[in-house]
């Protein structure tokens, strides 16, 4: 008569599967002749099942050996492959996130740089230039105050003067307007591109050559 045996065997043994070490916990129950085993691989939690033959009179060591022999049949390839894919996918996500963070940092630094470069702006007008040019229409001037300099600009002709203070900047702007006016005045229109032509027209509206030496 078959003796039914029910044995719980728990043993941790390191077995090699495809070169990776895992703990094999074997829980074997069953009858005297044929039983079943369940192996759980730690820490992955993959399980395999199979059959295990108990021989009458089997003792714990034999069962253990059988279990270790059968462990080679455990196919956890699918679970392992799935886990590997998940890990690879997570790794890829991490790299994407790192790249996005780097791009955000660069964007923030660019914005901070641009903010630092913003001057305080105010406006004024020029009503005179010098003894060579008469102002016939007030010239709108934009004053830009930075930490260590002031720029006075006549944006319509892309002219500007720089100084330590407003007075010096305006003085240099006047000189710039004078230079540009006389340069454009002596250049024929077919030698001027679109922008210089526009600048010349603007200058002719706001200043007049009063005939003194250039």
């Amino acid at each position: 008569m078959e003796q039914k045996q029910s044995r719980q065997i728990e043993e941790r043994k390191r077995v090699g599967l495809s070169g990776s070490p895992f703990d094999l916990v074997v829980e074997a129950t069953g009858g005297a002749v044929v039983g079943s085993w369940k192996a759980k691989l730690h820490p992955l939690g993959a399980t395999g099942v199979g059959s295990l033959r108990f021989e009458p009179g089997d003792y714990w060591p034999t069962t253990y050996e059988s279990a270790s022999a059968v462990s080679e049949e455990i196919t956890v390839g699918d679970e392992l492959a799935e886990l590997k894919d998940r890990v690879a996918s997570l790794a890829s996500d991490v790299e994407s996130i790192k790249l996005a963070i780097k791009q955000c940092e660069e964007g923030i630094n660019t914005i901070l740089d641009e903010l630092r470069e913003k001057p305080i702006i105010k406006q004024t007008e020029l009503l005179e230039i010098d003894e060579t040019l008469e102002v016939i229409m007030p010239i709108p001037v934009v004053i830009e105050e930075y930490d260590d300099e002031v720029i006075a600009a006549f944006p319509e002709i892309e002219a500007f003067g720089v100084g330590s203070g407003e007075a010096e900047a305006i003085r240099n702007l006047k000189e710039e307007i004078r230079k540009i006016f006389f340069e454009l005045e002596k250049t024929s229109e077919d030698e001027l591109g679109k922008l210089p032509l526009t600048w010349k027209k603007v200058l002719l509206k706001v200043v007049k050559n009063i005939g003194n030496a250039q």
């Binding site: 470069e117 720089v162 077919d190």
Partner: protein
């Protein structure tokens, strides 16, 4: 500090003279023209109030605007990736010749 505050005057002047054939000789604040098709197309000025060797942020910004470049474009022109021919193509595409 940002990119615009680190531009060396000498290097920028050399760059504009060599790549764009602009002439910065003459006077305290020389006005240089950029020519295309024998026409004066753009002008630029390089000036330095405080005597240091780098362009101030204000002047660098004005220079960038005069050359019709953004920050990245000015950086490429200054550092080397953008050649004179590249710049010319860019200006022509803008339609301001």
């Amino acid at each position: 500090m940002g990119m615009l505050s680190s531009l060396k005057i000498k290097q920028m002047t050399n760059c504009l003279e060599n790549k764009l054939s602009m002439d910065f000789r003459g006077g305290k604040e020389p006005l240089a023209w950029y020519y295309l098709d024998n026409k004066k197309v753009l002008k630029a000025k390089i000036t330095n109030v405080h005597g240091g060797d780098t362009l101030s942020i204000g002047v660098a910004t004005k220079l960038k605007n005069s050359l019709k470049l953004d920050r990245e474009g000015l950086k490429m022109l200054y550092n080397c990736p953008m050649s004179g021919a590249d710049y010319e193509s860019k200006i022509r595409r803008m339609g301001i010749v």
